[in-house]
């Protein structure tokens, strides 16, 4: 590109500076301010705080609840990725490849949950799981499976798996649409020639569809992982508050509980740093694992 140096610099400044300014002020500064606070003993209730060095991190390494929260987070990451990707891929293929007349109806309906606030979804699903009034127990009793009915969100074993369903329910639509986009943009000739070569539907799916929409799959997975590690605590906070007996405590909800309910803000900040580090490692690892595989056409 041929352009005068000054014009180029001016253009770069216009492009980069306002964005960077807002980003630095409202994202980077609070982040470092938070990091800095992780070296303090601070209740978050007053302006009085004491420097404690690495004490919060030392506590982090010895807190028996921390390993639980990490495990719970990765349980949610894994189940959500599998649940959302399998279902949305299935729906995307079904709605694009199979000739289903009412496909647009499903396409519209399935996106509805994406339009609902997490608060709304959390409240709604708390009612669905309600031991007495809830739809799930009512349904189980109606078909004679009384013994399966249980206080889902109060059951130490079932509470965490119970949180997966609303997250999947709320996530499908968006990812389905993104995958549909990928599939629809695959040139039709590729499928035609594969069929001429005698490839079955299943083979087409594995050897054509998956590699062709791999960029969408990869981005969706990354997006689910990031939003889960960063945001799963909202649904936890609304539906179970981490209970019963920490059975649904995730890193984020534990941060929230420590910083805002038990008033150990410094410790909460240390947990935040841990979340940041784990998220970075996870995403880098995933990017490495899911690299390449792009089908060039």
């Amino acid at each position: 590109m041929v352009q005068p140096q000054r014009q180029r610099t001016f253009f770069l400044l216009i492009c980069l500076v306002p964005t960077l300014l807002l980003f630095v002020v409202f994202t980077v500064y609070p982040l470092f301010s938070g990091l800095y606070l992780s070296f303090f003993d601070w209740t978050g209730l007053s302006q009085h705080r004491t420097f404690v060095g690495l004490a919060n991190y030392d506590h982090l390494l010895h807190d028996p609840i921390i390993p639980k929260t990490i495990w719970h987070d990765y349980f949610l990451v894994l189940t959500k990725v599998i649940g959302i990707m399998v279902l949305s891929l299935f729906f995307a293929v079904a709605l694009t490849q199979l000739r289903i007349k009412e496909a647009p109806v499903y396409r519209i309906l399935f996106f509805f949950p994406n339009l609902m606030a997490v608060v709304v979804i959390g409240i709604l699903w708390s009612f669905i799981y309600n031991p007495d009034l809830g739809l799930i127990n009512a349904g189980l009793r109606a078909i004679g499976l009384d013994s399966w009915a249980r206080p889902w969100l109060g059951d130490q074993q079932w509470a965490l798996p119970s949180l997966v369903l609303p997250s999947v329910w709320a996530g499908i639509g968006l990812f389905m649409l993104m995958l549909m986009g990928g599939i629809l943009n695959v040139p039709k000739e590729i499928y035609q020639s594969a069929r001429i070569d005698g490839a079955s539907e299943w083979q087409q799916f594995w050897h054509l569809t998956i590699p062709l929409v791999w960029p969408q799959i990869r981005n969706s997975v990354l997006y689910i992982v990031i939003t889960t590690l960063n945001g799963s605590f909202i649904i936890v906070q609304i539906m179970t508050q981490g209970g019963p007996n920490n059975a649904t405590q995730v890193m984020g909800s534990y941060l929230y509980q420590q910083a805002f309910q038990q008033f150990h803000f410094g410790y909460g900040a240390a947990i935040g740093v841990m979340i940041l580090i784990l998220s970075l490692i996870t995403v880098l690892l995933l990017q490495w694992l899911m690299r390449g595989k792009r089908f060039e056409y």
């Binding site: 209740t43 978050g44 506590h59 031991p131 109060g154 209970g243 019963p244 007996n245 038990q262």
Partner: protein
């Protein structure tokens, strides 16, 4: 966090016999025929030069906000130069927290509800030292406020930072009409309670006992505290709340937790409890899905509008005591305090003084509006037909020293201790661990609480 040992002075200050209604010759104490709820015309607390904006933070929960609205309206009439800004609602503590953190708190705070922690607020030096000022406060009839309180303020290193306003009492509720109809006995001690629960279980129409597992402190305050008081009195309560070494694993504590285990093993605890919040559990109880529920005095007010016909609130101090001994009650106080960084300390003091000055009047109003009690002596409710009957009979019972013994916590249990203990408690109540394991878990929690500075 620095190690701090707060003195526990509350215990001595209680005069149980001077409680509320039923103590004869109430005429001396009671305000003279003042129709409750009338606007006090004058205030002694330095009116005139108090002006500006006064910001008040108060949590609105089961008691509603009608009382606050009236008190604030009255205060405005007495102090026309003061503009009042109210920060209220069920989430107000969370919403206001960053304001406290950034040194921009309201002037007056009523400490109650989710997200409020009196001990932490004192510890982080957020509240004004009221020790000397509180001594100067007088009630309408001239008695010093500190003498007119039912329960004395919590003391932290001998200092007073909060003035207890609402006198909550936890106990166990049942439907008296239903019990009469079914011929179930109202329990007087733990073994008769187990008997009654056995009958209810056998009857098959409902589960014997429910509570909220989402807020396990309902069970801690409503069932465990009276039980601890029954086996070890104020000393045990003090040791447990402060996380003293060996307190949670003591034989006395174990004995109490074994009672809980018995309830669980007998199948008397409705296992849906863990998924229920407080109103859900209370609704189940009102719908006769469960027979007993431990809640504070606000229960009828909180559930008004949902009370089935013929339902009759029955209240007993939770019967965790052994046969032949008294019930135990541990008051739970919700205090009023002034922020250390209050922008208008004069108005804040005027407001707090105003509330306690008219304490007896407002205590009546409070009882009429909420069916509960303020922490004020000498309030005669026996002839007030706006006060619900359960409150009259409950206060009569509480005031009967032959039946009930009052015990006291030195200060509320810190969340740092309450949270891990709540978690272990849920497991015990679900039958995942036994009483012995609970005690060792709790002892561990107490150890780490002490290590982190504790109280």
């Amino acid at each position: 966090m620095r190690k701090k040992r707060w003195g526990a002075a509350a215990g001595s200050a209680i005069v149980a016999t001077a409680l509320l209604a039923g103590c004869g010759g109430g005429a001396n104490n009671a305000p003279q025929n003042t129709p409750s709820g009338t606007v006090p015309q004058q205030s002694t607390g330095g009116q005139g030069n108090v002006s500006g904006t006064l910001e008040i933070q108060y949590f609105v929960g089961g008691y509603g906000d009608a009382w606050w609205k009236q008190v604030i309206a009255d205060f405005k009439k007495a102090y026309p130069n003061v503009t009042i800004k109210e920060d209220t609602g069920p989430q107000i503590n969370t919403q206001m927290q960053p304001r406290w953190a950034s040194g921009n708190p309201p002037d007056v705070v009523y400490i109650d509800g989710a997200g409020a922690d009196e001990t932490k607020m004192v510890e982080s030096r957020q509240l004004m030292d009221l020790t000397d000022w509180a001594k100067t406060l007088k009630m309408e009839d001239g008695t010093p406020v500190l003498e007119g309180l039912l329960t004395q303020p919590h003391q932290y290193d001998g200092k007073i930072y909060t003035l207890p306003l609402v006198f909550d009492t936890w106990g166990t509720w049942y439907d008296a009409a239903l019990f009469k109809q079914k011929g179930w006995n109202v329990p007087t001690d733990f073994s008769s309670w187990m008997d009654t629960m056995g009958k209810i279980k056998a009857d098959g129409s409902m589960q014997p006992f429910v509570t909220t597992g989402v807020y396990p402190y309902y069970f801690i305050r409503g069932v465990l505290y009276p039980a601890f008081a029954a086996v070890g009195g104020d000393q045990l309560l003090q040791d447990l709340v402060s996380g003293k070494q060996g307190a949670w694993s003591s034989p006395q504590t174990l004995k109490v937790m074994q009672k809980v285990q018995q309830m669980q093993q007998a199948g008397y605890i409705d296992q849906s409890f863990a998924a229920l919040n407080h109103t859900q559990s209370q609704m189940n109880w009102l719908l006769h899905k469960d027979a007993f529920i431990p809640v504070g005095f606000w229960l009828p007010n909180e559930m008004k509008g949902n009370i089935p016909n013929n339902f009759e609130f029955g209240f007993i101090p939770t019967p965790m005591n052994d046969p032949g001994t008294k019930y135990h009650i541990i008051p739970d106080l919700r205090p009023l305090a002034i922020a250390k960084n209050a922008k208008n300390p004069d108005a804040a003091k005027a407001f707090v003084a105003f509330v306690f000055e008219h304490g007896q009047t407002y205590a009546k109003t409070w009882s009429e509006m909420t069916g509960a009690m303020l922490n004020v002596k000498g309030v005669d409710l026996s002839n007030d037909n706006q006060v619900p009957n359960y409150l009259k009979s409950a206060t009569a019972m509480i005031n009967d020293p032959s039946k009930v013994e009052l015990n006291h916590l030195p200060y509320p249990m810190s969340k740092d201790l309450e949270t891990p203990i709540s978690n272990a408690l849920i497991s015990l109540m679900q039958g995942k661990i036994d009483a012995q394991t609970f005690c060792s878990e709790a002892e561990k929690a107490a150890a780490s609480y002490r290590a982190s500075g504790g109280q």
